[in-house]
Symmetry: D2
Subunit: 394 residues, 4 copies
């Protein structure tokens, strides 16, 4: 039946996460643009999160996680997302979180031991090396140009990647490379696990971006005749695109969960400010020009949350939920940005200052309308499915 | 737990309703502005609906209904809403549907027999006489000016009402009148059941409006020293505003369900048209300028549906759901209109013609952003609750 | 130099037109959906307009007009547009106005005498028969299917047209037919003047539409081996598409002028209502949720007016102004609809009633986002020019 | 008459400015967040601008300026605004530009010599110290709390200011302080010129903000029993609010001109990128989902430009243009942000990177919807005038 009851234990966990964020993380927030926390801080908050019993909602119990289902993860990740440090504290931040999911689904026992375990325990970071500069694979993965050539000992990867989040300081990369030719370009890629100390892989530079809270930044990564052995292959040969899809729908959704948390925090700040600040003889909250903006945020974040929950439910049933995750990604990314943008507007000059975190939220959340598939690509996919289902277009 | 599973029996019922609409109602649709179906047509489709086992999803079994919970009603009403005749066929149209709900909740056994029974059986129509022309009660019910004065034999009602939907031809009206003075204006009203043959009540005129598919139209109704006895009182004296709230949240939500059905139908038509029609060397569906509009509708109707389901769940738990029903009403009314407006745009000249029903849908759905509380009043209420909850404003 | 000074005489004329509308036309307005004025009423108001010295701002002096330049026409047509009867009164309504422009530019002296003169004098109506039902020419004129075959005595036209505005009761049609084949479809059409009594031309039916204030409606017109002689050709053979462009840019702009007038009237009504009506203890004008909507209309109509004036200035310089007229059409059509829609919303129930003309304005203005090129086609053209000018795309 | 002809000499100047920006400034742009250029760079580009004959379009000839009228300034400032360095190079950046205007209008000959001359020559910077932290004067200037008390030798100013742009390193501040009490708060302020070395004025700190290209930042400035003599008074006592208005309308408009330049540059970049980059088998320019966004920017920047020109024309006629400058500010600020936001979106990951200047433009332009009166305050003022003019509200 249609139900929206959050189970008692999940509610309790959510409240613990909320309290943890308020108590442990908000005081650590550097609202200014100082960048991501350093590794020591991350390690410290993870230790505290573990002690508080909130570490790894999405992780297997054998790695110290809580092994929740997607719906519960949705509830908990949103609560953690109220601070940009929250996802890091519970080890649920991108790109590691998506990589762990992928490794669990596709990796061998050996790969689990070598890559998943340290990642899940939070002692290393990773990156996902798929996107390439023009004319390579950006929004359109079929344009993948990085190639892996079979050698006697294994494979030799050659190509240039960019906007590889978290690359600097990552212990390893999951690299996507073309291994077979295909007329549509949509088949024939393979994923490889490449260790950071592989001499054939090099972080060329960090790309300065509007957002700067991702540990390891967004980087240009070169693969130059990068040699890996057969055991470095993640999953089957030529199945890379399928695995990428496997990673994408949930990764996209956890992104939505985290950003919804950011938006709710921005909303709280704006509501609090509007209730206090006075202008033209009234509190801002009594000016409908302000109040209606916040009403719109209230409505849209409510809709966003329900769309996330619905997709999470589909994932819990084992469905791929591509249509629904595309719709959620598009709506949530845009609703989150509007929510943050309105919060900034309501808080006026203070809103664009680093005295409060809204300006940071604006900078950090803007790229979400682009990362993990820009809205335009999702709308294209949604429309294509729409016409396909209506039976009218091949 | 959070679930979105529609039970098997409800799905089967929904599919029956869908098939019924396609088979029985679409052929009857006069897409042009011919107005509501005549009483004979309504009686005929109700008989068919009864035969098809889909009559009265919201009605008690003792009146021939299906007595579903709100969530199931949401599913079924949406399916019925695909045709403007659908809600009439299942006797789930406004204002009767809301009046039946109110009568069930507040009426005496005698009133049930006399008013609810024929209404539920679909042999009579009713109206709800609350709104008044300026300077009376419009969006702001506290401005209520119609008064009922205690007399020896009962009450004498005096006042002018307008936009009383369905008044022409209604067997009775539920009239809201002030019975006590109150400084805030928000207390002291009483509801009365007034028979159509009461010489003190007169339908002065039908107001021509943008929409014209409501049987009985939207009318100006005069109460001129209209005498009723004590048994005409619906519920307790001075409790009228409370009952109005009792009626409003569900009535608002069933409105959303029905209009969502209209919007899905508009969307289907537009998708079908875009898949067929060619311009500039491609099908319209291959023009993103068209396809993206339909993707947006797909996303927004999905969000609208989830918001309706969520509020329905709250109602099923016995909550009043005022915040959530306000959010749903605002979002759904605006999303429905955008959906219909886009469908019209996609279909071009054909879309504004009466050759297909989109122009009718546009006309009929526009007032929904105003009826049952304009978006502005809901945003005001949503914001007020928001600030109240944040603890910052009295 | 950049100037916005309206010359004294044009201002005086505008004020006369404004006064004329208020005095003569507003009392005639049937706000309900009664349809266009009958020929007698049109003749009567034209006589009055002539007497008031405001007839034919766009018409040559030899036909009794004022022979103004486009900028002055912009000022005067906006003032006339405040009533839907205004353009009819000054004989500046579509489609006659565009047809007169075309006849002046392309017609022979004989055609001027036979067709332009009675049209300009306002004693007959005309229509422009270009658009066709699918799969013919709609937004994409290159899909033109109606054909004219050379015969010994002249031409034989064969094809089906629809949405031919004003066809019923028109004295003649300007019919666009393909006369040569062309691989792109964008060349090889010719225009013909066809008299209403030609047995080969038949108004098959009037298409019921959302709008219904155009005299002669929007019709399906059949050409069945319709014989015309060579003198019926308007302009040169195979030059029809070029002439259509010649007609379009100004016709599109005068549409904008008239609809801007409608929007300003809607705005006036809403401002007046908001200043009077009270709710929740204040006048609506003191609720920012209302006031901000009207501020947005104020801003957008100001921008709309400037865009119209700018394009009119280009036309006065002899430029074709295709880019600017496309931008103006798109912006104005959408701004006008938003303005009317907001006015309806502000006036609430009254706004959707026919007690005031807003509901009519909503119905009449909605198709303007489609007629004369839907927004999507204009955006396509604007973007194409944008990329062409940037030198990057062929 | 209505004209849009840019005079030949102004067009030539605009083209020189454009060429100057391309040749001299674009190479200097640090697209990353490195902050404003250092004083040496500013001095160097000013020297070059002077040599190129483009320095000081708005400045009197006696200070080396071009002494143009507002319409010509509009044309030239837009061209200069294509780089964030442009306004600095021609000494037309905020807040100096507005301060120079104010000094010219209100200052004494002595003040011209001492303050205006070096400012106009570009050897010093200044700031305008009006806004205060809550509960002081923000959007609502009547909440001004900083006070100046008459002393024997002159005045003693006491109060706290924040978001004082350019304060760090400014040679002097124009400080607004209350000198008389007034029940409405809207009268009784006086402006004072305070030298940077006055021991009573102190830049307490620089507020980190989303934007960071303003030389001297946005600062908290303390006035602690700050002593100035009578000659420090700018204009008459108690006339400060009137002068602030005098400064505001033009200052607001020059802001619009500069930001329009930024938006046109962003638009150029996005158009160029879309024409080159390929995805899903076509250039981005051939995806309407991209192309329509750029068409919307094209339309809106066109409207923005016309609104600026119109207000500039009013200023040239000596009108205060409060309504029109409010409308222009609101529309332009929002259109500019949408333009930049769309450009970022179109360029995808590259758009949020500092490899191109769009991310910087986004950060810098966002506060413009807040600075110089947030959109909400302008909408409030626009609506108030609207109702006042309609004669309906006091």
């Amino acid at each position: 039946m249609i139900e929206f009851e959050i189970p008692q234990d999940v509610r309790a966990l959510r409240d613990r996460v909320r309290a943890f964020v308020d108590r442990e993380l908000l005081p650590l927030e550097v609202t200014g643009g100082a960048g991501p926390p350093d590794p020591e801080t991350i390690a410290a908050v993870r230790a505290k999160a573990r002690a508080a019993g909130i570490y790894g909602p999405h992780l297997p119990r054998r790695y110290g996680g809580l092994e929740l289902d997607w719906r519960s993860i949705a509830v908990v990740f949103e609560a953690a997302g109220r601070s940009l440090l929250g996802p890091l504290a519970i080890n649920g931040a991108a790109p590691d979180e998506g990589n762990m999911h992928l490794l669990r689904e596709v990796g061998t026992a050996e790969q689990h031991e070598r890559y998943l375990k340290p990642l899940a325990e939070g002692t290393v970071r990773s990156c996902f090396a798929m996107t390439e500069p023009p004319p390579g694979a950006g929004s359109d993965p079929s344009m993948l140009r990085t190639r892996a050539r079979k050698t006697a000992e294994g494979w030799s990867i050659h190509g240039k990647k960019w906007f590889i989040s978290g690359a600097e300081g990552a212990a390893f990369a999951i690299c996507m490379a073309r291994t077979s030719d295909d007329p549509t370009g949509r088949r024939g890629a393979t994923m490889f696990l490449v260790d950071a100390d592989n001499p054939g892989m090099k972080v060329e530079r960090r790309i300065e971006t509007l957002d700067h809270m991702t540990p390891g930044g967004h980087c240009v990564v070169m693969f130059e005749e990068c040699q890996v052995d057969d055991a470095a292959m993640l999953g089957e040969v030529d199945e890379g695109f399928r695995y990428a899809q496997l990673r994408l729908a949930p990764a996209r959704l956890t992104h939505c969960m985290r950003w919804l948390g950011v938006a709710t925090r921005a909303h709280e700040i704006a509501v609090g400010y509007a209730a206090e600040r006075t202008a033209f003889g009234r509190r801002l909250s009594e000016h409908q020009g302000v109040a209606f903006q916040l009403a719109d945020t209230e409505i849209e974040l409510h809709a966003a949350r329900l769309m996330i929950w619905h997709t999470a439910w589909l994932l819990d049933r084992g469905e791929r939920a591509r249509h629904e995750s595309s719709m959620a990604k598009t709506f949530v990314a845009e609703a989150v940005f509007r929510a943050v943008d309105r919060a900034v507007q309501v808080c006026g000059s203070l809103g664009v200052s680093n005295d409060i975190p809204l300006a940071t939220f604006l900078r950090e959340s803007r790229p979400f309308r682009i990362y993990d598939g820009p809205s335009e690509v999702h709308r294209m996919a949604i429309a294509a499915r729409l016409f396909r289902r209506s039976g009218s277009v091949a």
